[in-house]
């Protein structure tokens, strides 16, 4: 009987605060990423609701222009860096080791450091609201507006420093997961036998490693301008504001692929399971993902069509952007090909995955419209582009992440999310999302610019804004439904078996939730979709429920305080730059203190053996 195996489940020993703060377990770290990212997502969502409330009527005075500008700047920054990226990180952390059959990531303490640096960076940026100095220069911080001259307050300092801190977290994670995926796969798992989510994660990490340096340098230069009076982007000293745009978008465009590739991977995991047949065109999917990432470095100036770069540059970037549409289209067709001839099971993860495809098609097509440079001159900086990127980022990334949440929740927490509530969540979210963002296509084409805190009556924008606001509140309600689902599942959820969906990949062979060491015996893999292979060989549809073992003889890395210490040191180091200092001593006492704390932390860390504090087995 199904429940008998589950009676052997572990006694859920609740972890103490110290255990959470010092954990190096990728699964705990994943949960921490997820919880904080979801909280930031809610904050970003509230910012959006206030924006929508303000824009519901023309000439509204609900919020001041200054506060509005803070709201949209923080909404964008939060959703990208504190929402989608760490939600993806939740899945990288929890599932990459499981998918490749490993016990943990290559560098567990570095992994913890990434988490704490992210969390502290996110809290730091949002703390700016308490000083009424939240960043207000847009999430893209164009010069010269972001210079000290035109943004004299602390607002943009919070932005520059906050992003710099978050960049460190991402870079460390990039090194970590790149190494993990390349070097810690189970025996027999060649690259072309890796699950698609592992592929897209690998490619995402390469994008992070190669694109973040550009923004790191750009932020260093902007901080030098703001703090030390240099003129990298100020014409007064001979600088060029265009340099900021180029550096920002050389990072910024790969960044959007960083945001969508994990989503692509999640969809490629879910569709086969719920179609009961393999992913169509695995090789094509791998190569198209790689091609998209590679091409993604060659299209950045399609964000700059209105800057007058000249017809040759415009042509190059138009054509390059159109080119990227081809591998993207190939992926969509392969997903449909996966569905084709299958036996589709419409469980909640599948609903969100199908919703993803449906919405991403729209977002992708509006993207192709943007690639036509002359037409983009009408569309850019209007609500048309706002519609486009919300279709790919919400209809795309968020829908996919939600699909992943429903898919992997049972494995992570050992309970099932309710299917009934899940279906309500899906339909309400689909309706709310489309009601919010589809009208924006029209608002934009009919002349409504973006980033405006109010619009006049008489230009015809009213109807679309009312629809978008109504949709936004419906969308918010659907999130509440999701939260209710999580709460109900946590309190009295049906216990989850190891393999509730009929999965193909290794995570479904271990108990839900997994034991600390993941796999009692290191798996050996002979093919793609190894677990379907095992089921086929055994002639069963579901493998027998795995038993929990004692973990005897398995060595795991031990907890450590040093990642948290180093993270705090990094935060203090950067905060030091916000405090005025003299030229003679360019690094003030706070910066020096932060540096020392970081250095000490790193030394202690280096000399602490990875299993120094591990419990003896």
């Amino acid at each position: 009987m199904a429940t008998t195996a589950l009676e052997h489940t572990h006694v859920a020993k609740r972890s103490t605060l110290v255990e959470w703060l010092t954990t190096v377990d990728h699964k705990k770290i994943g949960i921490l990423y997820g919880a904080s990212a979801f909280l930031f997502f809610l904050i970003g969502g509230i910012e959006a609701l206030i924006i929508r409330a303000q824009l519901a009527r023309p000439d509204s005075t609900l919020v001041s222009p200054e506060f509005y500008n803070q709201l949209f700047t923080m909404h964008g920054t939060t959703m990208i860096f504190l929402g989608v990226m760490p939600l993806s990180a939740m899945f990288f952390n929890f599932f990459i080791p499981l998918l490749i059959g490993a016990r943990d990531v290559a560098f567990p303490r570095l992994n913890a450091m990434s988490l704490w640096v992210f969390m502290l960076g996110g809290l730091f940026m949002n703390a700016s609201f308490l000083l009424n100095a939240a960043p207000n220069g847009g999430w893209f911080g164009y010069a010269p507006l972001s210079s000290r001259q035109y943004s004299p307050g602390l607002n943009m300092d919070f932005w520059v420093i906050g992003l710099q801190i978050l960049g460190i977290a991402s870079l460390a994670a990039g090194v970590n997961f790149f190494t993990t995926i390349l070097n810690m796969r189970a025996r027999g798992m060649t690259l072309m036998r890796m699950p698609m989510f592992v592929w897209t994660t690998l490619i995402t990490q390469i994008l992070v490693l190669l694109s973040f340096p550009a923004i790191t340098v750009a932020l260093i230069m902007l901080m030098a301008d703001r703090t030390y009076g240099s003129s990298f982007f100020s014409i007064g000293g001979g600088g060029d504001p265009m340099l900021w745009q180029h550096l920002f978008w050389v990072f910024g465009h790969p960044e959007v692929y960083i945001l969508i590739l994990p989503a692509f991977g999640i969809i490629s995991e879910i569709l086969p399971v719920f179609s009961r047949k393999p992913l169509f065109g695995y090789s094509a999917m791998v190569f198209s993902s790689a091609f998209i990432a590679f091409l993604g470095f060659g299209v950045w100036s399609h964000h700059m069509f209105s800057t007058g770069m000249g017809p040759l540059a415009d042509t190059f970037f138009s054509l390059a952007t159109m080119l990227i549409a081809i591998p993207t289209g190939v992926k969509i067709f392969n997903w449909i090909g996966t569905l084709w001839g299958g036996s589709l099971q419409f469980k909640t993860p599948m609903l969100f995955a199908l919703g993803f495809i449906a919405m991403f098609i729209i977002g992708g097509l509006s993207g192709v419209m943007h690639s036509v440079a002359p037409a983009d001159l009408q569309q850019t900086d209007t609500y048309f582009v706002v519609a486009h990127f919300h279709y790919v980022l919400f209809g795309g990334s968020i829908f996919a992440l939600t699909a992943g949440a429903y898919y992997w929740w049972p494995k992570m927490f050992g309970t099932m999310l309710s299917e009934t509530i899940g279906k309500w969540h899906f339909w309400l979210m689909l309706a709310g999302f489309n009601l919010t963002f589809f009208p924006m296509h029209f608002a934009g084409l009919l002349g409504m610019p973006r980033r405006i805190y109010a619009y006049p009556a008489g230009l015809g924008f009213e109807m679309f804004n009312v629809m978008a606001t109504a949709g936004a509140f419906l969308l918010a309600f659907s999130i509440l439904v999701f939260m209710y689902n999580m709460w109900v599942s946590a309190r009295r959820g049906v216990p989850a078996p190891a393999d509730p969906w009929g999965g193909a990949t290794l995570e479904w062979t271990i108990p839900s939730p997994p034991q600390e060491w993941n796999f009692t015996d290191e798996p050996v893999v002979a093919e793609r979709d190894p677990v379907w292979g095992m089921k086929r060989a055994a002639g069963v549809r579901t493998l027998p429920e795995p038993t929990r073992s004692s973990g005897q003889g398995i060595h795991l890395p031990g907890p450590s305080w040093w990642p948290l210490v180093v993270s705090v040191g990094i935060l203090i180091f950067f905060i030091g730059f916000m405090v005025k200092k003299s030229w003679a001593f360019p690094f003030g006492p706070i910066t020096i203190a932060g540096f020392l704390l970081t250095a000490i932390g790193i030394f202690k860390w280096a000399y602490e053996a990875p299993d120094a504090n591990a419990p003896k087995h």
């Binding site: 001041s64 500008n69 010269p144 060029d240 179609s275 169509f280 036996s343 850019t380 610019p449």
Partner: protein
């Protein structure tokens, strides 16, 4: 219900197609409701762009119907039950991969050709208007949060309301004095950003007279949302009259400029009259000799307005902090092209600019209502 879907679709196919077309054609709105629309171009540049856009939309719609339709069809056709037999385990098909790589590539190539052509066609500022006349040079200067317009060949300056003659190509040479802005007049052209260290170019030829709202389209600080402007497309006669009026607007004797008769103070202006919001009283224009006007003129200097605003359209110095106010009496909008130019609004704007447009750089000393009334009266005479 679903069982009948197939028959339903076949029977009602024409209706469904019509519905699809209707949805697509909702792109064709009643254009008069959308004065800032990109979809009803009134100038050659915007027409070229719109034509390209419409082509792209058609291809995108067809692709959408096919792909989204394919998705929905697959969802319907292959819906399964948990106890279904295992479906055929297909891994892929190289032929199919090639086909669905080549077809999108071809579609994109077809879109790419007119794209590149339009890029080059719109990049080059025409050397002559379609009617053979010389293009009208206009310098556009972006400020936080208003637009300055200079006509170097005519020697005049104005702000927030750009007058152009119909049929004559306008050659815009653009910069900003502070942060980045973007000049966007959708009915006539795409948008173009303005930079502090180099000139950007844009051009258009208006094909219909009228008043057209435009906006700043690059986030430029606290009042980016209220940095609008108007383009007034005049008949050649109206334009000449307006230019003449501006050229007369000067305490400096204009040299070498085409002479035009100075209009009498009570003459109707001939160009756009001051719009009246339904619930505000019509602006009152006093005679130039009225004592209130004189008082206003004195206050204009005494209260420091003259430090930032020039009332001379001719010889207006560059780098003034505030918009040129020549012709302010009859400008359609104030406060940066968005607030209707009624006496009440103008009064409020002068008395408490921060309450009207928080963060604006306009500094005003304390003034009584009577003083502000006098200023308004004075400015009203600046037609």
């Amino acid at each position: 219900m679903i069982r009948d879907l197939r028959t339903f679709s076949r029977r009602h196919l024409p209706l469904l197609l019509l519905a699809a077309a209707a949805v697509t054609l909702t792109g064709c709105f009643d254009h008069s409701l959308y004065p800032q629309s990109t979809l009803s171009p009134k100038g050659d540049y915007a027409e070229m762009v719109d034509s390209l856009f419409q082509t792209t939309v058609w291809y995108a719609t067809v692709v959408f119907i096919l792909v989204e339709g394919g998705l929905l069809w697959a969802i319907y056709k292959f819906r399964g039950k948990p106890d279904d037999a295992e479906p055929k385990q297909v891994h892929g098909s190289t032929t199919v991969e090639i086909i669905w790589t080549i077809i999108p590539a071809l579609v994109l190539a077809v879109v790419a050709v007119p794209t590149v052509k339009t890029i080059f066609d719109t990049a080059k500022v025409p050397t002559a208007s379609p009617d053979g006349s010389q293009p009208l040079k206009v310098e556009v200067i972006g400020h936080q949060w208003w637009w300055e317009f200079r006509y170097p060949e005519l020697g005049i300056t104005t702000a927030n309301q750009l007058h152009v003659p119909i049929g004559r190509t306008v050659d815009l040479r653009m910069k900003t004095v502070d942060v980045l802005h973007s000049f966007w007049i959708p009915q006539f052209a795409g948008k173009r950003d303005v930079f502090p260290n180099r000139e950007t170019r844009l051009w258009f030829t208006a094909k219909a007279t009228g008043e057209y709202p435009g906006a700043c389209a690059e986030f430029c600080g606290i009042q980016h949302g209220r940095m609008d402007f108007y383009v007034m497309v005049n008949t050649p006669e109206e334009f000449t009259a307006w230019v003449a009026q501006r050229q007369a607007d000067s305490t400096l004797a204009p040299t070498g400029l085409p002479k035009a008769p100075a209009p009498a103070a009570t003459d109707s202006v001939g160009v756009a009259t001051v719009p009246v919001a339904a619930d505000t009283a019509a602006p009152v224009v006093l005679a130039a000799a009225d004592p209130k006007v004189a008082e206003g003129q004195a206050l204009f200097s005494a209260k420091g307005c003259i430090g930032c605003h020039s009332l001379n359209s001719v010889g207006a110095p560059k780098g003034m902090l505030g918009p040129n106010l020549a012709g302010i009496g009859t400008r359609k909008m104030i406060a940066g092209g968005w607030l209707p130019n009624s006496d009440e609004n103008l009064h409020r704007w002068i008395k408490t600019p921060q309450a009207v447009k928080e963060g604006v750089l306009m500094q005003v000393p304390e003034m009584t209502d009577a003083e502000v009334d006098a200023l308004v009266a004075y400015l009203r005479t600046k037609q």
